[in-house]
Symmetry: C2
Subunit: 435 residues, 2 copies
Amino acid sequence: MSGVLKLGELHGSLADPLLDAMTFLNEVTGRYPEAISFAPGRPYEEFFDPADIPGHLETYLRHLREEKGLTESQVRQEVFQYGRTKGIIAPLIARALAADEGITADPEALVVTVGAQEGMLLVLRALCAGPDDVLLVSSPCYVGVTGAARLLDLTVRPVPEAGPDGGLDPDALADAVRELRAAGKRPRACYVVPDFANPSGASMDERARRRLLDVAESTGILLIEDNPYGFFGRTGPARPTLKALDGDRRNVVYLGSFAKTCFPGARVGYLLADQQVVDEDGRSGLLADELAKLKSMTTVNTSALAQAVIGGMLLAGGLRLREANEPARQFYARNMDTLLTELENAFRSVPGVSWNSPEGGFFAVVTVPFRADARALDVCARTYGVLWTPMDGFHPGGGGERQLRLSCSYLTPEQIAEGVRRLARFVTERTAGQN
Amino acid sequence: MSGVLKLGELHGSLADPLLDAMTFLNEVTGRYPEAISFAPGRPYEEFFDPADIPGHLETYLRHLREEKGLTESQVRQEVFQYGRTKGIIAPLIARALAADEGITADPEALVVTVGAQEGMLLVLRALCAGPDDVLLVSSPCYVGVTGAARLLDLTVRPVPEAGPDGGLDPDALADAVRELRAAGKRPRACYVVPDFANPSGASMDERARRRLLDVAESTGILLIEDNPYGFFGRTGPARPTLKALDGDRRNVVYLGSFAKTCFPGARVGYLLADQQVVDEDGRSGLLADELAKLKSMTTVNTSALAQAVIGGMLLAGGLRLREANEPARQFYARNMDTLLTELENAFRSVPGVSWNSPEGGFFAVVTVPFRADARALDVCARTYGVLWTPMDGFHPGGGGERQLRLSCSYLTPEQIAEGVRRLARFVTERTAGQN
């Protein structure tokens, strides 16, 4: 019979429970549009106005004409044609990285990607070449990384975080590298979100960051630092990124995204890969150039139109994004404060329920005395009108079965308060066996 | 030593001669900016004006507000947020496909991709699951396909075209499938560009198309039809696409691109995958939904901003693109006429030189009596001021060593005439051993 394929004959990732779980979660979210949703890790969208887009585009075009001296024909080519695989706004991104993060980036070491997701895929593909190669990931871990690894048939080894608020444990990484090598494996890199991680909300303190960099230096493992939420600290000054702390040791490939600091609909991110790659004849080049070769086989270019609009936003903000994001930071900080206060109010005297206290970002994790799986979510959405994300899907090595992730980025403080009240009813009644 | 990686320890695709050759070609092109270039397969860019972009965006936003009845908040969400993995303009694309190609497409069977390149990557990944799986490709073949296969470590088997103007040979495909199965392999799909192929310029006549569909039906091989140039016929009415001819047999996954019909800088393409996928329990869904799962691991979404601008262009053209592209078709047809006339003038009495006569598109192929490799190209560019593309890189199984590809899409008729005169001097003197 033509036009019919068997799932079992397609690539194994498509039958992976991880992808099925994500599909199910999307379905559940779509099925209860009226519920208060702590599920999606989306930025709050009232900061955006479609009417601003032509202005940002015009700002970038003016920059091309007036500062770079391009002719109209060259401007047309820049925005409309196939362009450099590495992208067109790398020099602007390099200046923003210097101003915002104190990271010194050669624009030639940057590749503009279709979101950080494409950046991950490219880095994983370049580094993991054969069946003995292993990707280490902080656990719990963003599913985009474990999913990209699955698509490429890579082996993933989870490395635990240090407690509910501590972020990746550097000594656990050192142990994992040692064990893998003893077993004849080739650990290649470790994926980590040091600031306000997705899904745990945990952050690494500066001492742990320095220790992690030392582990990378001594073991020769690259760190893949993903930093989507770094601007959104709740309290105190921002901690330095791993990339900034590492200086010119080049143990870190840095993944950036404009999804939360500009807007997701542009789908513009970037990677900074300033490592040297040496061939058999001793010739050397940048890892970024190798990653660009791979990008020519995934998406060819990142939309020049989308890059131009992001470029205009960068220029409008004086080539620094942190200040432009201060209203967003305050909004998210207030939301996280509200979430933690409401959790305290609702659960302080409920036995068996605990939660962490993220220093910023979009996510917090609640531990409950029952299995918080997709079925529990369905009951909670239908009967109590509140949505969240089960944590088990974020644990590539198992775990998180009694935990749920709450995202507070996409709601108002009033919705957060009401959502936690609904969640409290669900948790209390489920603990008592009433639903 | 930290920050230094060995090329030999990175993924094998990065040391592949194919990718090195592409890098070299880009370098050569960049090194001789004043040369007349028959190298890049780019659309002519005088059809685009940056000033039109805000208007196209506004057209799409008005469509959302007035025709779909969305509130301002919903409009903001559509253009700025993370959206459906399958994309937001699928219904508009389905209507254009019906008007332009007579293809009946369920919008749910469409996935909007970051160019056709991402579409290829997704289809190849879904279909090729293990080491025995083989992708068949028409040969010579677009490097984007063989490159994507390399990135995924897939086995590729070339299937020859039927002569210089004939396109993929259906009987050669039937033979290849039989041989592969006899050798215990699992041939899965065949990539083909039936209209004005890149790089050969060849086209399949309607009889060959019907025969190819019958081979697909009888062998159970999916056809991956890529159609970037179909609007740009030089003479006569357009031939029906494989997808249109196939009707509801669903032997064809169709890849579309707006790079040549709208503009490349949007990076918006799509795939139509209406095949059924059945799991072990007998539940079935669309192949498009499986491909969307994979897309969530490559790029998450195609830029909603870029989709909105393309959506506006589709709406502005009355949801048909063929008519809107009539000026472009005439321009490219005149260029191909000019190229073929000038080749006749220059080479008619030169022994050992021949060329084909494409019925449309961007490309023609010239056969010369010497090795037309990257070194010859370098000499030709430096001394004669004209650039072209060696054909050997397009032959995954070897071949094309004495052929060069000429692209006429990106030049004026005057440049084409002068370029062919320069090429004739190079070919004549090289044949005589004078350079």
